[in-house]
């Protein structure tokens, strides 16, 4: 449940004159749920990278509560993300050869933070997301199940923020809808701030706010639309 405050953010790539993302100001209250939409190439993923610290901001301030990600080194951004941000990606990024349970606890294990309490929580989370057999090898799961494991992994460290990048795009409609339900419900229960990049109208409708991106700029914001 961290609040986001972006000021004068610019992301540029070498060789491109125009910034791929330019957001003069964006604020998000703690515990809010935001949908980010836009055509491909509109800067959605770049925004995700900037607010998760996966990529260094070229310019500006990306502040989660008191922490300005844009001022941190790569290692510190990694550490901040590990502690506060749960990530769900379109391609799941589960590690084959490891079981569902092992995938959920892998980040904690690799940072030597795997306590018995965390193991217990991992088991409960797998149950919550509907994985019946935590020891099943990941590669034998269905795509919907894989994304559920990924959701459980994102929630393990009780993050204050959940960022999901097209979480339902590679699933069929039915599975996607179930998963959208799950993410929104779990984020709501934990009180985490939720940012979802999506094309999926079903998912968009469940979130309280929506911004549209085009050419790296915010061209639409549902809050402002209401205000107007």
């Amino acid at each position: 449940m961290l609040a986001l405050d972006i000021t004068g953010l610019e992301m540029r790539f070498p060789g491109l004159d125009m910034p791929v993302l330019s957001i003069p100001r964006l604020q998000l209250a703690a515990g809010a749920q935001l949908a980010v939409t836009g055509a491909s190439g509109s800067g959605k993923s770049t925004l995700v990278n900037a607010i998760t610290g996966l990529e260094m901001a070229t310019q500006g301030v990306v502040r989660w509560e008191d922490t300005n990600l844009a001022a941190l080194s790569a290692g510190r951004r990694d550490a901040f993300r590990a502690a506060h941000i749960g990530l769900v990606m379109q391609d799941f990024h589960l590690f084959p050869g490891l079981s569902a349970f092992e995938n959920v606890v892998l980040p904690a294990r690799l940072s030597r933070r795997l306590t018995p309490a965390a193991r217990e929580r991992a088991r409960q989370l797998l149950e919550t997301v509907g994985i019946a057999r935590p020891n099943q090898p990941t590669e034998t799961l269905s795509r919907g199940e894989m994304q559920r494991v990924a959701v459980a992994r994102a929630l393990l460290s009780r993050p204050g923020v959940i960022v999901a990048d097209e979480p339902t795009a590679s699933l069929d409609r039915r599975t996607g809808a179930d998963l959208a339900d799950l993410i929104v419900r779990l984020a709501g229960e934990s009180g985490a701030t939720l940012v979802v990049v999506t094309h999926d109208p079903v998912l968009m409708d469940r979130l309280d706010r929506r911004i549209g991106l085009e050419g790296g700029r915010i061209v639409e914001d549902s809050t402002e639309a209401w205000a107007a």
Binding site: T52, L54, A82
Partner: protein, 405 residues
């Protein structure tokens, strides 16, 4: 961590195995070269231990030493029998034994000598008694004959078109204890029998067309005088070290040659050592090439897995964990290859030594020495360094870029 590494290696079994085999082969090469050189050096040094001073006719020092110590067949010029007599009666000499070779039986060298040499090689016989008559023989521990067996000597060796002597049939009366030298394969017979057989005894006519018959029952006579026929080499056991040096000095002349076999061998080892240095350099070179190849494989491997590495970081694995995974995985491959290479190299050296011992009877001890430890540490140190480079290179890329690749 180790669980993740193992799961990863399982996924890339084929590649991992190839890298391990590559490293193992190059390590095995160096190990074999090192161990084998040491085995040959130690083995032949021990084989030469019992031969203090050799006196022969003027000629090649090396050939004299090799022929007497390793019983390597080679035509040596004959030393006048008078020298043998003088040496036998020299007060500085504990014993002087003639060594007369040239004959063989079933591939085993037949050497004419005296009971003094038998006593020096094997103070106590393993079985039986020393020869007491011209028709008797004592065999080395590796000669597959029984006491009482008959031996028909052949002039030269079978594979160089030698002919069987018809003048005598030896009967085995004793077997020496193992000495770990080439003499374990030898058949020792009285030197006078050899002389007579070759028509060299002063009392016989010199006629090579007709085989001279040797009376096998003639008792042994081990006193030599000026009339004694020539011999290829005389083994001399001086009483003191000072005597040894004085004798060597005296018998180094125009007609005679005196050598310390150990000294000749040391000179040979120096050459052998150079060869080892060269082989080792080649082995190290292969290792460098292998390490370069492995580095290439790793860089490609890491490149292909950038997504995975990016994902690890994106989901909260600390950078040191990512480095440790990539590094640990590589180091594990290096280590496995190294251990396998040690085993392979040791096995190969054992195999070669066994084969050499079978043909020469010289026992070649294959053993690791203290100085090998530093070589091993060098390799491991290098492996640590080489494997840390690709690991560190994984950090250069931002996780977002890695995920996109």
């Amino acid at each position: 961590m180790i669980g993740f590494i193992l799961a990863d290696l399982r996924r890339f079994k084929g590649g991992a195995l190839a890298v391990i085999v590559l490293i193992a082969l190059s390590v095995a090469l160096s190990v074999t070269v090192t161990l084998q050189e040491r085995a040959v050096r130690l083995g032949s040094a021990r084989a030469a231990e019992k031969f203090d001073l050799l006196v022969g006719a003027a000629g090649s020092e090396t050939q004299l030493a090799l022929s007497a110590v390793f019983l390597q067949p080679a035509p040596l010029p004959l030393l006048s029998g008078g020298v043998l007599a003088t040496l036998s009666n020299d007060p500085r000499v504990a014993f002087a034994a003639p060594v007369g070779f040239g004959d063989s039986a079933d591939g085993h060298p037949v050497v004419g000598t005296t009971t003094g040499l038998i006593a020096a090689l094997s103070p106590a016989l393993a079985e039986g008694t020393p020869f007491a008559r011209l028709g008797e023989a004592v065999i080395g521990s590796d000669v597959p004959r029984r006491i009482g067996a008959e031996i028909k000597p052949m002039h030269g060796a079978a594979d160089e078109g030698g002919h069987t002597h018809t003048g005598i049939v030896y009967r085995v009366t004793g077997r020496m204890a193992p000495t770990g030298t080439a003499w374990d394969r030898a058949i020792l017979v009285p030197i006078r029998a050899v002389w007579q057989l070759h028509g060299m005894a002063a009392t016989e006519d010199h006629d090579h067309d007709h085989e001279t018959h040797v009376d096998a029952d003639t008792a042994l006579d081990e006193h030599f005088d000026a009339e004694t026929p020539g011999v290829p080499a005389v083994l001399v056991k001086p009483k003191t070290i000072a005597d040894a040096y004085r004798l060597r000095q005296e018998y180094r002349g125009e007609k005679t040659l005196a050598v310390f076999p150990a000294e000749v061998l040391t000179r040979l080892y120096a050459t052998l050592g150079d060869a080892r240095g060269l082989l080792l350099a080649i082995a190290m070179g292969t290792q460098l090439i292998v390490i370069a190849a492995v580095l290439l494989v790793t860089i490609m491997h890491v490149g292909a897995r950038q997504r995975q590495i990016g994902a690890l970081r994106a989901f909260g694995a600390p950078r040191r964990a990512v480095v440790a995974i990539v590094w640990g995985e590589l180091f594990l491959l290096f280590l496995a290859g190294f251990v396998l290479g040690l085993a392979l190299g040791y096995a190969a050296a054992r195999l070669i030594s066994t084969a050499l011992t079978a043909t020469t009877a010289i026992r070649m001890p294959v053993e690791f020495a203290r100085e090998d430890l530093s070589l091993g540490l060098w390799f491991i140190g290098l492996a640590v360094l080489v494997s840390i480079l690709p690991a560190l290179s994984t950090l250069r890329l931002s996780p977002a870029r890695a995920l996109r690749s």
